[in-house]
């Protein structure tokens, strides 16, 4: 069964460093998302991406964040200068064309900022 994959599973970084989280969405999907879950809190939407551009972003997704689909398979989330409060699980998700189809989530990347 096709699935969303994410690498790395765990990333430890120093405050102020740049990190890139990688995702490979399901191959025939067209819509891509990043969510995050801070420990003990709910899953929060960060950004959606369609047709090589951001379609929607949350207030969390400030200028320190960017997303890119550098080739036909990868979807990346970059945090330019990490802060302690960026420590969280980051989930990538994708869905296919129909608006009401479910989003399929990857296993997540645990980001720890020291």
């Amino acid at each position: 069964e096709p699935e969303v994959t994410q690498t790395p599973s765990h990333q430890v970084t120093q405050m102020g460093q740049e990190v890139i989280l990688r995702c490979v969405p399901i191959s025939n999907h067209l819509y891509f998302y990043w969510y995050r879950q801070i420990l003990g809190q709910k899953v929060e939407f960060l950004v959606s991406f369609y047709n090589n551009e951001i379609s929607e972003k949350s207030e969390i997704f400030d200028d320190q964040f960017s997303v890119e689909r550098p080739d036909g398979s990868n979807f990346t989330l970059k945090i330019r200068s990490t802060k302690l409060e960026d420590s969280a699980m980051y989930f990538c998700a994708s869905r296919d064309r129909a608006i009401h189809n479910e989003q399929f989530f990857g296993p997540g990347t645990r980001l720890t900022v020291l």
Partner: protein, 114 residues
């Protein structure tokens, strides 16, 4: 901003019995609702969904009920099995309003004991 609420942080049910997980929402624009199941260190896994034009959707042991007037939905699991033990998230979206981001509740931890 708690547009989706799951007021029960935990639920304990005996194997073979019914599990009922509840979810309330406040945003009248939500038109699609989903339930996800999450194990520790994994991403959310889609379980079942319902459109706002329906009041019930069933898939095997899982049934979701939607009461639009009360802005309430519930997930019934019958019969409950130990493998159902996980955190269950309710999520909602407002696809008819050109947004497909999912708004999640805080989750309910279900424990099914023998």
């Amino acid at each position: 901003d708690q547009q989706v609420k799951q007021n029960s942080p935990s639920l304990s049910v005996q194997e073979g019995r019914i599990s009922i997980l509840n979810c309330d929402y406040t945003n009248s624009m939500f038109d699609y609702f989903l339930w996800y199941k999450k194990y520790p260190a994994e991403g959310p896994t889609f379980l079942i969904s319902i459109s706002s034009i329906k009041d019930k959707n069933e898939d095997g042991r899982f049934t979701v009920f939607l009461n639009k007037s009360a802005k309430h939905l519930s997930l019934h699991i019958v019969p409950s099995q130990p493998g159902d033990s996980a955190v269950y998230f309710c999520a909602a979206s407002a696809g008819s309003y050109n947004t497909d981001k999912l708004i999640f509740g805080t989750g309910t931890r279900l424990q099914v004991f023998p």
